[in-house]
């Protein structure tokens, strides 16, 4: 017991055995900590391919809530709310299923399929069309907030050109991680708008199909079966480990600073205040960052 206490003191408390500087603050320990964090990321990267499929993001997202929140934002800036169009929702659902089946996270599929194909396939004769995508969010509110924080996505959400909305929410395996994808389709038909020369409003970096042709309405194919048990969230586990590491170092630095100041220990090393400030910023950033991606 005393031996364990001694080892912990050696690791976290400045004393003679560690040259009056907690061992965890020594360069060798910092290198070990850094590589341990990198190693954890390597595990997370390779686990979906070679290990048990336990990575995933738990989510509770309803399409109705996404529409409600979107319309709330529009009404707040004096725009008319968007009308739910079931055809657009079917098309959005099909786009989400396509992403899971072909395992991609982009506006354009690896085979070159544009988002507008889904509008056309389901018989939606668009005059203007737009697409927002989100994944890994735990709820609708955080996804909508993320879109609003991005100028290009916000432009889609608050465009007066769109009259209708369709939402697809699909859950499944994307690159080995169980996740929920939200597909937000915006549109307006020729009947909705004043007939001027047709221009499709596009999502960022996506070129619309020039000649919309209505084909037979397809039915969305079933997405891959979701993982039944989600044990580890890659983001939350990384965040937890990061916060624990930074918190531990901050605590040890405070103790180290107080002890060396009281004992008037002079040593060659960095400034404790500077390290505290830098790691404090890292802690703040770790707390600010939230799970979820948008494109």
């Amino acid at each position: 017991m005393m031996k364990l206490f001694g080892q912990l003191a050696h690791l976290f408390f400045p004393r003679e055995s560690n040259n009056h500087k907690a061992k965890i603050l020594h360069p060798s320990s910092l290198v070990i900590l850094t590589f341990a964090l990198i190693f954890y990321q390597v595990i997370l990267a390779f686990l979906p391919q070679y290990g048990p499929r336990v990575l995933g993001y738990a989510a509770n997202i309803s399409a109705d809530e996404v529409i409600r929140l979107t319309n709330e934002k529009r009404v707040a800036v004096g725009l008319a709310p968007l009308q739910l169009n079931p055809t657009l929702s079917q098309a959005a659902q099909a786009k989400g299923v396509d992403m899971l089946n072909k395992d991609y996270w982009a506006h354009t599929a690896p085979d070159g399929t544009q988002p507008w194909k889904f509008f056309i396939d389901f018989g939606y004769k668009y005059r203007y069309a737009g697409e927002n995508l989100a994944r890994d969010f735990s709820n609708a509110s955080s996804a909508v907030d993320a879109w609003m924080a991005s100028s290009s996505h916000k432009e889609n959400m608050l465009s007066s050109k769109y009259k209708e909305i369709g939402i697809g929410v699909v859950e499944g395996d994307l690159a080995g991680v169980d996740t929920t994808i939200i597909v937000q389709f915006f549109g307006s038909t020729y009947a909705d708008t004043v007939p001027i020369s047709p221009v499709a409003k596009v999502a960022p970096k996506v070129i619309p199909s020039p000649k919309p042709i209505v084909l037979a309405t397809p039915q969305p194919t079933a997405p891959p079966t979701p993982i039944s048990r989600v044990l580890i969230s890659p983001f939350n586990s990384t965040k937890g480990i990061s916060l624990a590491t930074v918190g531990l170092l901050l605590g040890v630095l405070v103790v180290d600073g107080v002890v060396t100041s009281r004992r008037r220990i002079v040593r060659i090393g960095g400034r404790t205040f500077a390290h505290l400030a830098f790691l404090g910023m890292i802690l703040a950033i770790a707390l600010i960052l939230k799970a979820g991606q948008i494109i």
């Binding site: 990321q41 790691l279 890292i282």
Partner: protein, 86 residues
């Protein structure tokens, strides 16, 4: 504490850089490339601050420089691992 008061302008400059860095992360959430650039810039500024500060204080040694470098590297690894998991 005595050292802190003596070099208050140095620390104010460092705190300014770090606060701007944290604010940038908050204001440009979900902009990965910008956040990556901010993280690298702040880490470089931190190491530069340490080098200049110790140089002025005439106690700049290789061990001190490496210490700042390692703390900055640890911070970068933490930020990157979170940015690219979002």
């Amino acid at each position: 504490m005595k050292n802190f008061a003596k070099h208050l302008p140095h620390y104010l400059a460092l705190f300014g850089v770090l606060i701007i860095g944290a604010l940038a992360f908050y204001l440009f959430s979900y902009d990965r490339s910008f956040q990556t650039a901010v993280a690298i810039a702040v880490a470089i500024a931190y190491v530069a601050w340490g080098t200049v500060h110790h140089s002025i204080h005439r106690d700049l040694h290789l061990a001190v420089f490496i210490e700042y470098l390692l703390v900055a590297a640890l911070g970068l690894v933490i930020i990157f691992s979170l940015i690219f998991r979002t």
